[in-house]
């Protein structure tokens, strides 16, 4: 089925209106893919995949016996966001990250939001990633989440909704960049549509890191920034290496760093070199065995106290994971209202908390109609899709929810928007989401575009790369269509 026979079905389609017309901002894309033949498309696709494989643009699937390194499936039809929609998204994301940052500062200092009973204290204190060790810790320029990836979806009416916030170590920015360069190689002509560049991301990220360096930084002209990775076995190692290379900074593992007199040094062939800022891609739990998990061999002993002494800055900061907790997500609209006095520009998906008595009975009575999520899992793990789940799976979740209600939330299933995607014989609609990347440096900026993930399995709503998802290049146009 080629584009002319494409069916939108009973969903919001990004490219076509309900009566089958191409939306104006997709005009250039429709011209290009409208009369492409199967053979032409397959040739282009094969070339793109080969270049990903050769370039090592891969990721790792844990617990899978069939080889762990694979390429992230890429679909050549770009997702296009018109400029007027983007401006709203940008404002909404900046508002959200501003409020979450104030929230993090507050709960690790005065805890006003708890004292004013806007959020019941026990939800924060019971959050898995609430770091007591981090209390009264001052972070440079009061920035906690330097990099944030917020997942957005669109419902049946086409409204954007926030699905979750990722304030720990959001990944995927390298795919945003690689997807763009792959599409430029395969279809150079279609960029005449006027697409805003994403290529500035690594430099913006580096500038953001340099912005939070200690005032008396050790580097000669610029602060010394390094990227701390758990190592080559991590699922996102490609991204770590890619971003370090793009920023022109060293990539290090825990054993390459050492703390002396509350200062962090990198072991080099020319001796120890002071480090000012660490873009860390290791979770809190593993970052410093003298403070967190003592069995961690990935981290750097003494690192947290070096940060406490103000001699090094960690990005993102320690303890930001509390804002990723899906129970905290429920409170984000209140958080925005509390700190900024504004109504949220981007709405949440309706959410029920299993730890509230009335919500709990509703959830348990309607498990087969709801999506249930664990409060602290990511990557599509620990999730029940009620309407599609087997009875045993539902009963399993029922047991778990009753045993530990704090750990679960539920949402009505959202019928995600669809996008024309190449599937074996031609274009079919597949569900997509969007993860824009927000950088908090001197000011907050959102890279125009982001990572559009697509659920390649027919009918599937799960877009996570670990669960059979692929991705698309994401365009924000310069001008109004």
């Amino acid at each position: 089925m080629l584009l002319k026979d494409y069916e939108t079905g009973d969903f919001f389609d990004e490219m076509f209106t309900a009566d089958g017309n191409v939306r104006p901002h997709y005009r250039r894309v429709a011209e290009e893919f409208g009369d492409i033949t199967r053979e032409e498309y397959r040739n282009k696709q094969a070339a793109v995949e080969l270049s990903f494989m050769r370039g090592g643009v891969t990721f790792t699937v844990y617990n899978d016996s069939q080889g762990t390194e694979r390429i992230f499936p890429f679909d050549c039809v770009p997702r296009v966001i018109p400029v007027e929609e983007w401006e709203v998204l940008e404002k909404g994301l900046i508002q959200r990250i501003t409020a979450l940052n104030l929230f993090l500062h507050d709960i690790y200092h005065e805890q006003k939001i708890l004292k004013d009973k806007v959020i019941p204290a026990h939800y924060v204190l019971s959050a898995k990633h609430f770091r007591r060790e981090f209390m009264n810790f001052s972070v440079p320029k009061n920035i906690y989440a330097h990099i944030c990836g917020t997942d957005l979806i669109r419902d049946k009416g086409g409204s954007y909704l926030v699905l979750e916030d990722n304030l720990r170590c959001p990944s995927g920015a390298s795919y945003m960049l690689e997807n763009r360069s792959a599409l430029k190689r395969a279809f150079p002509d279609i960029f005449s549509a006027g697409v805003r560049p994403v290529e500035g991301y690594p430099q913006a990220l580096l500038k953001g890191m340099q912005h939070v360096a200690p005032a008396n930084f050790a580097g000669d002209d610029h602060p010394n920034v390094v990227l701390l990775t758990p190592g080559v076995y991590n699922s996102a190692y490609f991204e770590h290496a890619f971003l370090a290379r793009q920023m022109g900074i060293p990539i290090v593992e825990g054993r390459d760093l050492v703390v002396r007199d509350f200062k962090v040094y990198m072991r080099t062939t020319a001796g120890l070199v002071r480090v000012d800022v660490i873009y860390r891609r290791i979770d809190d739990d593993f970052i410093d065995p003298s403070v967190f998990r003592p069995d961690s061999i990935l981290g750097v002993p003494g690192l947290v106290n070096a940060a406490r002494a103000g001699n090094v800055c960690l990005a993102n900061s320690i303890g930001t994971g509390v804002a990723d907790d899906k129970v905290m997500y429920y409170f984000v609209p209140k958080i925005i209202k509390y700190y900024l006095g504004e109504d949220p520009i981007l709405n949440n998906v309706d959410t029920f908390l299993a730890s509230e008595a009335s919500d709990k009975s509703y959830i348990l009575d309607n498990l087969a109609k709801l999506v249930v999520k664990s409060a602290n899992e990511a990557g599509g793990y620990g999730m029940l899709m009620g309407p599609w789940a087997a009875q045993e799976e539902i009963e399993e979740f029922r047991k778990n929810i009753i045993a530990n209600p704090r750990n679960f939330i539920a949402q009505p299933p959202i019928s995600l928007s669809r996008h024309p995607t190449w599937c074996e014989e031609g274009f079919e609609g597949r569900h997509i989401d969007l993860r824009p990347y927000i950088l908090y440096g001197e000011k907050i900026t959102v890279t125009p575009g982001g990572l559009t993930r697509v659920a390649l399995r027919k009918g599937s709503l799960v877009v996570n790369s670990s669960q059979g998802g692929g991705s698309k290049d994401t365009w924000v146009l310069h001008n109004k269509a």
Partner: protein, 306 residues
């Protein structure tokens, strides 16, 4: 519930006046071979609050290294130091002078029904002391013990905490060296014996399993009747949260309220939060640790009022 757990049997405030005490606490580590890259958090500075005031505190680390001080989540003072060079031994010595005071709130003579915890003016931060923590695990066997102890549920927060402490004191044997720092609560329940740390953890678990917020206290007990040569050491007890009254200390090991003979160093959910010396080092896995603690009465400073 048997009469032997009548809360009136708790010894209360034998000590009716404040004391001025000097503490010396020396910990010596001897490593097999050398140790290096050692990072340590020390919680040995006495707390200053309405019940005690720390007049003086000195911390000596040998080999001599800089010390970085901060306050943790529970507002305990932490002294952090690192030793990157190789060293065969490590010595940490603290010297403090503490003045303890009679509780200005007076004896606990009110009723504390459980619904007081739901009062909206009560600070909800006690939540941390209601849930499981590293050593205070709430497993089936501790629930069983708690339900047997309180078949009708908790009637009064204070009186029933006292019952829990008396229960532990009467039915568990205090036995030096019967357990170690990694002993789990279920082992203590099975063997029915332990040391002050286990008594405190067990009482905490009994309280928390019944919805009573309670926290762990590490510190010292000044034993005025100490015989020469008798070992002095760190001590552990608990505090229970009484709405609109505050935290109140009770010592299950001695079956008594914490009075002016008790010196508080730190509070936390359990021992894991507030180990007096906590850290990591590189080197061989074996080391020998010796501890000396000494708590002595001292005269008031010259010129001080009565």
């Amino acid at each position: 519930m048997g009469d032997d757990l009548n809360p009136a049997q708790l010894s209360t405030s034998e000590q009716l006046s404040g004391l001025r005490l000097r503490v010396r606490h020396l910990t010596h580590f001897a490593y097999e071979g050398n140790a290096w890259d050692s990072y340590n958090d020390v919680r040995l500075c006495p707390i200053s609050d309405p019940l005690q005031r720390c007049e003086e505190f000195n911390l000596r680390v040998s080999p001599d290294v800089p010390i970085n001080t901060y306050h943790d989540f529970f507002m305990n003072r932490v002294d952090h130091f690192e030793l990157s060079a190789e060293h065969p031994t490590l010595e940490v010595e603290s010297n403090a002078i503490v003045e303890t005071r009679v509780d200005p709130r007076g004896p606990v003579c009110y009723d504390f029904p459980m619904d007081g915890l739901n009062d909206p003016t009560v600070d909800e931060n006690y939540f941390d002391f209601l849930t499981e923590s590293h050593y205070v695990t709430l497993e089936a066997d501790i629930w069983r013990e708690g339900i047997d102890l309180f078949p009708n549920g908790v009637q009064d927060i204070w009186k029933d905490t006292v019952r829990a402490a008396l229960h532990v004191n009467r039915n568990f044997k205090y036995e030096t060296s019967s357990t170690n720092v990694s002993t789990r609560i279920s082992d203590v329940l099975r063997d029915r014996k332990g040391v002050c740390q286990d008594f405190a953890h067990l009482t905490l678990a009994l309280c928390r399993s019944q919805g009573i917020p309670a926290r762990y206290v590490s510190g010292y007990f000044f034993n005025a009747d100490r015989k020469p040569g008798e070992i002095e050491a760190s001590h552990a007890w608990i505090e229970v949260f009484l709405p609109h009254f505050g935290w109140k200390g009770i010592d299950p090991t001695h079956a008594r309220e914490a009075d002016t003979r008790y010196i508080k160093l730190a509070v936390g959910r359990d021992y894991a939060d507030i180990r007096p010396i906590n850290g990591t080092y590189r080197g061989k896995g074996t080391r020998r640790m010796t501890v000396e603690a000494e708590i002595r009465l001292v005269n008031p400073p010259p010129g001080a009022g009565v």
